[in-house]
Subunit: 378 residues, 2 copies
């Protein structure tokens, strides 16, 4: 099997777990945050920088790479690892989410989804077989099943039919999957905001016995409490000896809460996206470095941080770069933000190891959000 | 004196010379190309990367930094070196060139230039005293005199008056210059495309006994032959024991030809600007990596190059990044292009040392431009 999960330690107070995920490109310590490299590059960052901040695995987007440069070119290059000079694990999503969120004029049938490229308008088709073929060509360590991420809000009947189709698509993905010894196929649990549909869907997907399971269709507009509720309803039906991946979630509170609910893997564009707006994640919460008040602030982005950005540059300099649209400003904030989330996950793993996760979580969140509003929930 | 030039070796076949320029932030081996860090950042590059490719000195723009973030902020930060985390030498231009090339509604008087910011439209004024005050605040190792770069073409009478005013402005710069032991003031020879005005201007400026001299007002639209002719008329009047700086020139042929005419220092935005168009400078000439023919080209940008970009990435990958507007693509090409020009200057210095400059020049230019059209001139 391409991927094997090993649970190292339970958290006695929560459902968090410490684990190791063995992949063809190395072993990942979980829980982990995965930086997103949409187009075979984590925006502004070099692979060496990603390693320097402790990125164990990155994510790349099937839909985007299918459109540009095309999976055949990546295959000819020797796969995504060689193409982008990244020799650690890669997870690729299936394109399902982007087909629904980015493309135009999509039409869903049992066969798959017809849509138009959000770039060229070209008519295209993705179904389970195509998503698997593309991911096979990309050569990621973990491939995701082709699913429909139902819109939010959506009525129960729509979500039920969509989730059931996702199970049928998953069977076809499993059938079409070509490289089972070098690439693991993860299934995705859907079911919208309906607990019973989530449970039913989780059971049906787990029946297919895959090396890992994701929870999809969350962080789509619902409240965080609703998201946590859906996770709580799902995880009891996911096997303990397989990794669990919560898709598209990356805010510090959701990462910590997700871990406590038994999630092992997360990804999100948040750290690099907010960097482009000049926003840093710091131990004191978000800092909008573009603000005028930082023009003469010669302290670092985060006084508690020892990353490259924080040891070498001031808020005043970074603000200047961001205001002047200088790429190096984005580099510095992206570097810091990714380092921040990866460090957070390192501390979360330490806290699980030391049986102090709730205490750590309370302390961290109170400092980050400036109140104990979030922390009291634990 | 803040800056001292030491000539190490003459070239017997040309006017090229090997030298050392001692500055408060270290010694530079000349002839040298200076990467341009307009806004206190060499576009897309980190200071560590600039050092890795052998940048000995960089240039920053007074006009741009005066507008953003303002020289007072840089002064408060402890000067440009601290502000931007660069501990090697920095040369700042005077803002003169940008006032003429970028700003709107400028009005020149004996006092200086009234203009409007190209960003905000705000009315501003720069004269010799202001240019010196700003550069003093920036704390560069080398400050440039405030000059007028006459337009091209311009009639003789206009150029004569402008060049004479530039001499009077230089006197005021020298007068206003505050930090003579930590910052050197270089004068700038003007005179348009009129050999006798160039000579007259050079004499008048050299009379003021400065630690270095630049040739300005070239590469403004005239032919390269005309530019070389103007340099040839000027350098005989510049003292041998002072560094000579040809402003705004960076194409490989002009660098080599400039060195042969006795120039020690060059700067140009060319390597980073063409990177933004997806163009690389290679030992085989310019390569427009965006072209469709490179979509499946899994070789490096330059087969003869051993830089980070060329040892790790393919044309196909870089083309993909450039087509997708990914910052990392610009980083990779900028890195390579700057490395290319800095390596060229290293080879030029070696060739002078080995008394083989003309042979090296012929070989290099024939390969770069794909013909011996340029090389036969030597």
């Amino acid at each position: 099997m391409a991927v094997r999960f090993e649970q190292i330690q339970d958290c006695q107070q929560t459902n968090a777990r410490l684990g190791r995920l063995h992949t063809p490109h190395g072993t990942i310590e979980t829980p982990i945050f995965m930086p997103v490299g949409t187009l075979a590059t984590v925006k502004t960052m070099s692979p060496e920088e990603l390693k320097a901040i402790g990125s164990q695995i990155i994510l790349a987007n099937t839909y985007h790479l299918y459109l540009r440069p095309g999976h055949e070119i990546v295959r000819e290059a020797g796969g995504l690892h060689t193409f982008m000079n990244w020799n650690r694990p890669i997870l690729t999503d299936s394109g399902g989410f982007q087909v629904f969120s980015l493309s135009k004029l999509r039409k869903i049938t049992e066969e798959g989804v017809s849509f138009r490229s959000h770039l060229s308008g070209e008519p295209l088709f993705l179904g389970p077989e195509q998503a698997m073929e593309i991911q096979n060509a990309l050569g990621s360590d973990i491939a995701m099943a082709f699913d429909e991420c139902a819109p939010y809000p959506a009525d129960r009947e729509y979500v039920r039919q969509s989730a059931e189709r996702t199970v049928r698509w998953l069977k076809r993905c499993k059938e079409a999957h070509q490289r089972t010894d070098s690439q693991a196929l993860f299934g995705i649990v859907q079911g919208g905001m309906y607990p019973d549909l989530r449970v039913e869907n989780a059971k049906a997907i787990v029946d297919l016995d895959l090396p890992g399971y994701a929870i999809g269709g969350l962080s789509v507009g619902e409240s965080k409490e609703q998201m946590y509720e859906m996770i709580s309803h799902t995880t009891p039906y996911l096997p303990k000896d397989k990794p669990r991946y919560l898709m598209g979630v990356g805010s510090p509170d959701a990462l910590i809460r997700g871990v406590m609910l038994g999630i092992d893997m997360f990804d999100c564009v948040l750290p690099t996206r907010i960097a482009r707006n000049g926003t840093a994640m710091t131990s004191q919460g978000r800092l909008v470095v573009k603000k005028a008040e930082y023009a003469r602030d010669f302290t670092s982005l985060d006084p508690e941080c020892d990353c490259y950005t924080c040891t070498k540059y001031t808020r005043a300099y970074i603000r200047h770069l961001v205001k002047a649209d200088e790429t190096f400003g984005l580099r510095l904030i992206s570097y810091h933000n990714l380092h921040f989330l990866l460090q957070l996950m390192t501390k979360v793993r330490e806290a699980i190891r030391n049986k102090q996760l709730p205490e750590f979580a309370n302390r961290f969140l109170t400092q980050y959000y400036g109140s104990d509003e979030l922390s009291v929930r634990f």
